[in-house]
Structure formats: C-alpha cells, structure tokens
C-alpha cells in the first residue's frame, strides 16, 4: 500500500528566462496520503504544484500518473487525469449559486436549475458538507468557499487534490473543520498535496513532508521524523560556499536621525496595527513571508497604494505627519519607492534609458521649466548610466531591450535622480542576474554610507543578512520582531516569520 504511487515527477525542471524555478526535483505522491510542501518564498513550491495541475509545463523531466507518463498542458487536461488544484485565489464565480459552480462547464444543453440543485444537494450530503446549494457563492465565508472548491474537485473524480496555502484565510475553528475534511478525503483514497507556511499545520496534518530550497528538493520524509527545528534547519541551511552574498557583517552602522515613524497602521486585509521606525544612515532589512504586509506597509508610506480599503494609524516623516495621497507628493518630500515589479510599475518600455531617468528628475521638480532640455536629459542620463554601470548599446536604447539587471538599474536610477533621503527597495534583486546583484548591493551599501535611510524589503534571507544593519521581521500584517544584524541568525529570523 505504501508504495502505491499515484503521481510522480522525475528530474522535473522549469526554467523562466534561463532561471530555474524548480531544478531536477524528484517527487512521489502515494495513494491516500497527505503530503505537505514547505519552503521559503521562491523555493519553488508553487511552480511544483502548478506543474502537477497543468498550469505550467516542464522544461525538462517527466511526470507520471498511475505509472503512465503524461504531460498535461492545461488545467483541464490535468483535471481529466484526476488532478485538481484549489488555488489561493478562489476560482469560483461569485455571482452564481453553489450548485451552478459545482456543475460549471458540465451543464447539459438544457440546463435545468432544479435538476442541478437536487443533484448538488445529494452530492454535498454524501460528503457531509453543510452548504446550501442555492446560495450564491459570493455570500459564503472563506471556509465554505473552500468546501465548494473541494466538492467540485471530488465531483470531478479527482485522485489528487492540490491546495495552495489552504488555511491562510481561515479562522481557527474553520481550520479545524478543514483538517477533518482533508482527513475524510484521505479515507476515501484521495491524495492531498498542500503548501503551507504554518509548520505546525504541516506537522499535525501531513503523513509526509517535502522541504524545498532554492528550486531544489532538500528532503522528503515521514512527518513523524520531523520537528519544527529540523524543518527550519532544512529550509534555511545553505551551503557555505555560497559567497554571492558576501560574508556576514562584522559591524553595523549606527542609527542616525529617526526619519520615519509608522504607528498602528491599518489597511484591510493586509496591514494590521503595524508600527515601526526607520533611521538615517543605515540599512533596515524587512523580512517576511508572502502576505506578511511588508510591501503594503511601505506602499502606503510612499503613497503608491490607492486608498481602497479602510485606513487608520499615523505616519510621521521627520516628526511631521505625512500621509501621501499619490506618489508624486512622496517624491517631492524625498521618499522614493523602488518597486518589486518593474515590468508593471517600474519603467517606460518604449522610452529610452535616458528618457526614463529624465522623467524621474522632472517629477521631482513639478514647478520646473515647461520646455524639455535635450542637453539636460542627455547629461543626466549618461551620468547615471555611468554611475550605475548600466550596460546597453547606447543611452538611447529602449529599456525593454535590456537584461533584467540593467532594467533594475534604470529603475533605481530613476528614483535616485530624485535625490531621496528615504529609499525603499522592494525585492531589489528579484529576477536579476548574478553580476548585477553584487553591483546593486554595493550601491545600496553606498547609499547608507552617504547617510540616507535605506529600507530593503526581501523574501530572501541571505539578501537580508548580507545587507541589513537592523532587521525587522514581519508576520501577518505587522512587525513582530526586531534584530540587530549582529545577533540575528537565519534560524532566529525564520522562527519569527512563521507562525
């Protein structure tokens, strides 16, 4: 029974633009087991599950279901193979009823509502799910929505159900109920794969646990052989030859003036009573897992986030209250935000490098001259291109033609030309090649040496450890722990970051 493999992956590799998201992973899922996937952000958990669910196709390697080699190219193909995925974002249609959602895509030509309501009622009862088939999905709570998703997966005769962070949106009681559901599915012979950041859950629920790190599999073992410490160790333990991020800091920079104070900042649903301070002349690293509210907090500070949700709390910039409605006001007050997603909100792709940087300069001085100065644009452009060592054919090259690292340098230059004294780097080296990472880190260090207040938000622990003088750990919408870089270890930080 224990060697009855439902689904297996051998040497599974997926490359995004030459960078491996998963690298040679072997994975086996037994029939009727609950298998937890854990690892840091970017370790490859999501990609691995997306491969199984047919959302992503492998660059190399093989996948087999019941011993037959398959390569599903769409979620539909995977579903026909008996693999269903329950996404973090709900994939239900909120305006339709539970029954309509269950049978979505399977309706007969003549779609008799009464018929599907009866069928749905019987089916839900057979699963012991307490959901009324005639309610609209939008009116259900998170847990019930998840039930509907699970019911749909079972209805499609799924042998394998994959959950991505199933408990992230649930209350404690709902979680308990969810666990019972999953155990019940297991008894029916369904295999479960679930991604979780909550290690206690993985330990309590799973039969086996696989730990991923840096796109590779570290270990797979029975859950009883794990404890919290061993998982954390496996998640962060890196080979010492990894010199890319330099050696640990021997000393830290002293804190200068208090530049930014955030008090009890609230923004539903991501930021909950967050309080923190940022000082001049040092680098403050902000670590946290996805959904910890780091990016949102600093996007509120820099005016990037629109006021769509309830907002409360206070922000002080150099002891003056500051609540910027738009980034333009933040920029004029010396706050720069370097985005984590440069394609979406970083650069102007049809414009030249020089024009991109010049636009940054123009927005710092809104009352400046009305006519553009070609000479100023060219000098500013070429100065920054030289200063940050942007490699391009010419200053007039379009940004979209550059490599990720050079694009990132242009985005940084566009902010630095505004001469900010509080600079927020959000994932500054995401999707950046190795050489450019070193250059960008040097640049960030130089800025702190010049006395600027620097914030580095990163999901990558080595980056936080290499850069920070002071480390803030964020969890579930607020900063929960603060370390000096001298006392911090990867284990301590990771311990604080997961709940």
């Amino acid at each position: 029974m224990s060697d009855d493999i439902v689904l297996s992956l051998t040497k599974a590799t997926k490359l995004y633009a030459g960078v491996a998201a998963i690298d040679g992973i072997d994975f086996e899922l037994r029939r009727g087991e609950i298998h937890a996937l854990v690892g840091e952000n970017g370790a490859g958990k999501s990609t691995l599950t997306k491969v199984m669910a047919g959302v992503v196709t492998l660059t190399s390697g093989a996948m087999a279901v019941d011993g037959v080699v398959v390569s599903p190219k769409s979620p539909l193909e995977a579903r026909n193979l008996g693999i269903a995925m329950v996404f973090q974002e709900n994939s239900l249609v909120p305006t339709m009823t539970v029954a309509q959602n269950l049978f979505l895509g399977q309706e007969h030509f003549y779609n008799r509502l009464r018929g599907i309501y009866i069928a749905a009622q019987q089916f839900l009862q057979s699963l012991n799910f307490d959901v009324t088939p005639t309610t609209t999905v939008g009116a259900l709570g998170a847990a019930k929505k998840q039930m509907v998703e699970i019911a749909r997966a079972v209805l499609h005769k799924a042998k394998v159900i994959i959950f991505d962070e199933p408990t992230a949106t649930l209350t404690p009681e709902e979680k308990k109920y969810f666990f019972d559901l999953v155990r019940d599915l297991k008894r029916r012979g369904v295999s479960i794969v679930f991604i979780s950041h909550a290690l206690e859950e993985a330990l309590a629920l799973a039969d086996r646990i696989t730990v991923l790190r840096d796109a590779k599999k570290v270990v797979t073992d029975d859950a009883v052989n794990f404890d919290r410490a061993r998982i954390v160790q496996a998640m962060v333990g890196r080979d010492l030859s990894n010199t890319l991020y330099g050696v640990r800091k021997a000393s830290v920079r002293k804190a200068g003036d208090r530049v930014l104070v955030v008090q009890n900042l609230k923004m539903a649903p991501m930021v909950k009573n967050n309080s923190l301070s940022i000082f001049a002349g040092q680098i403050t690293g902000v670590f946290g897992l996805v959904g910890a509210g780091r990016t949102e907090t600093f996007k509120i500070v820099s005016g990037v986030l629109k006021r769509d949700f309830f907002f409360g709390g206070e922000i002080f910039l150099r002891n003056k209250p500051a609540r910027f409605r738009v980034p333009a006001l933040a920029v004029q007050s010396g706050v720069a935000y370097v985005t984590e997603d440069r394609k979406v909100e970083g650069f102007f792709e049809t414009a030249s490098i020089a024009r991109n940087i010049y636009l940054g300069l123009l927005s710092k001085f809104p009352r400046g001259r009305a006519l553009l100065s070609r000479r100023e644009a060219n000098t500013v452009g070429s100065n920054w291109i030289k200063a940050l060592n942007v490699r391009a054919i010419s200053d007039e090259a379009r940004v979209v033609e550059l490599s990720g690292g050079n694009q990132q340098k242009v985005v940084i230059a566009k902010s630095l030309v505004q001469e900010p004294d509080l600079i927020i780097f959000d994932e500054p080296t995401r999707g950046v090649d190795v050489g450019a990472i070193v250059e960008i880190h040097d640049l960030i260090n130089r800025l702190a040496d010049e006395g600027k207040a620097v914030v580095v938000i990163s999901s990558y622990l080595p980056e936080i450890m290499a850069l920070s003088d002071r480390i803030l750990v964020s969890r579930q919408g607020k900063v929960v722990e603060e370390f000096s870089a001298l006392e911090a270890t990867e284990e301590k930080i990771m311990y604080a970051a997961i709940h």
Binding site: A21, V326, A328, E349, L362, P366, L372
Partner: protein
C-alpha cells in the same frame, strides 16, 4: 540587436504612394489642380480632428465626443451672433464651453476612473443633445451679418495656400511642440506607455489626463471653427454621421498605437493623406455611400489588427515571474 522591422507608418506611406499613383494614372480628373485643392481642403478638418484624437490615444485613452466638440462650440458662436451678441464675446463663451466640456471628460476619466470610451461616449451624446435641444434654433446654424471676418479662418488662401491647409499646418506645429518639447508632452507619452510606472515615478498622472482631454476638446473645436468658416454655417447634425470613425481610422492607420505611448504628429499626417486620397478617389469613382463604408470598414479592421500585431499590450507577459 539590429533587426529589420518595417514600421506601420512606412507601410501606410507606401500604400498611400501606390494609391495616389494608381488614381493619378487611372482616374481622369484626379490629378488636376482643382481636385488636389478639394482633396486637401476636405482632409484639413479631418486632420485637425486626428491631432486631437492623437493626444488622448497617446495617453492610452480615446475621445468619442470629439464630434460634439467640433459641432457645438462653433454652433454657439454662430447662434449667439445671430441673436445679436458680439463676435468676440461669442467666441469667448464658446471656448469656455469647450474647456468645461474637456474638464468634465478629463475628470470622469482621471478621477472617477470611468473607461474613456464610455465616458466620452456619454458626454458626447449629452453635449450634442444639449446643443440641439436648447442652444440652437435650427439643425443647421446659419451665417449672420455679424460674422464678418470670421470666414477668413476657413476661406481663401494665405500666401497662395488654401486657408484650411494652413490651419492644419498650424495645428500640427502646435501639437508637435506640445508633444515633443514640453514636459507635459513627455508626461503624456509616459502615461500612455505605462500608467502605473508614471504614478510610482511621481508624475502628476491625473492632472495630465485632464489636460489631454481639455486640449483634445479645444483642438476639436478649432476644427469646427475652420469647418464653419469654410462652409459659412454649422450643420450640427454632423454628430450623427460616421465622421468619428474616420478620425479613428486616421489615427490608427497612421500608426499611433491604441495601446498608448507610440507615434506622433507625423503619423497623423500620413494617416490623413491616405484617408483623404482614398475618400477622394472613391468619390470620383462614384462609389455609393454604402460601398464607401464597406471599404472604410475593411481598412479600419486591417489597421486595428496590424496595430495589435505590431504594438501588443504586454501586461500579460509581465506576469511570468511568479515562482
């Protein structure tokens, strides 16, 4: 990374040249001085409207209400003069009306965040209806004695060049200066290229969008003034015509990407030349109105498809970094 790539404006220019040559050889009466003059005069108004549309399209918007801007402010001038007001006072009133019209468009799109297509569709219908219901006594607002001097905007010639063409040239230069030399022009391109990045960089996105629509409305009204002056009246029913589609045709055909940020005044000129030649040739050929629409429809479709091939929006491609 030197790649050989034919830009849309080059293709369109070649098509224009071929069409022009073919008409010249095959159509008697096409390449005459008289006809050339008519051709240019007819397209001047279309070209000015194209410039107005180009500004908003570069900023990743669209202004369907341009024909209302073309018809109503000049109609106000003619009507007020008819009612005994002085010409300068009437012009000032009409311009104020146009500015408010543009501000409303801009506010709806930039602040209320209504998609530009729907916002301008609604305001255009509203303003045209307002004019026909309350402002004008007849569908065609007639010339009256108080209008002396106004016709110089659209009739006669300046240094031997027909006035409408001079007006088109002036509008071209003004728009080119705005787009290429001022910081607001640079902002317009940036917002059209990537509105999110423009916001994060600290550009004044909302004021610039409002400015774009005010300028578009003012330029549209200018086209209306030229038109009214050259035909000595303002047929306000023009709002019900298919003129707005011709304007979009000019802009898209000329190579201004509907995804924003790409193109300039040169593209409008090329688009106007091609459309002008096409319309003129079809009229000489005596193709009936329905047939002309058929041809225009096919050409617009081809242009839009070419546009989406040459200038794909790439928000989708930006999503791939998710690991």
């Amino acid at each position: 990374m030197k790649r050989f790539r034919v830009t849309q404006q080059e293709i369109v220019f070649v098509v224009f040249a071929v069409l022009f040559a073919a008409f010249s050889i095959l159509l008697p009466g096409f390449l005459t001085a008289d006809n050339m003059l008519t051709l240019l005069q007819n397209v001047a108004v279309l070209g000015i409207l194209g410039l107005a549309m180009a500004i908003v399209v570069l900023g990743r918007g669209i202004d369907i209400s341009l024909i209302a801007a073309l018809a109503v402010p000049p109609g106000i001038v003619l009507q007020m003069v008819q009612n005994g007001h002085s010409l300068p006072a009437s012009i000032v009133t009409a311009l104020l009306f146009a500015v408010v019209f543009g501000l409303v468009n801009g506010w709806l799109i930039a602040v209320a965040e209504v998609p530009s297509l729907f916002a301008t569709l609604a305001t255009g219908i509203f303003v045209a209806g307002l004019g026909q219901a309350f402002l004008f006594q007849l569908d065609v607002v007639q010339w009256s004695p108080g209008m002396e001097g106004f016709q110089r905007l659209g009739q006669g010639a300046i240094f031997g060049v027909p006035t409408p063409i001079v007006m088109f040239a002036i509008a071209c230069v003004a728009v080119a200066v705005f787009l290429r030399l001022t910081r607001w022009g640079a902002y317009t391109y940036a917002i059209g290229d990537n509105p999110n990045a423009a916001r994060v960089t600290g550009l004044p996105v909302r004021p610039i969008i409002i400015l774009q629509y005010v300028l578009a409305t003012l330029i549209g009204s200018f086209a209306g003034f030229v038109m009214a002056a050259s035909i000595n009246s303002m047929p306000t029913r023009i709002f019900n015509s298919t003129l707005i589609y011709d304007v979009i045709l000019v802009v898209v055909l000329g190579g201004i990407g509907l995804s924003g940020g790409r193109g300039g005044v040169l593209n409008v000129i090329i688009g106007t030349l091609l459309i002008g030649t096409m319309l003129n040739g079809m009229t000489i050929l005596d193709i009936p109105y329905a047939g002309q629409n058929l041809i225009k429809g096919v050409v617009l479709l081809l242009a839009v498809i070419t546009d989406s091939f040459l200038n794909p929006r790439n928000e989708e491609t930006a999503q791939q970094g998710d690991i």
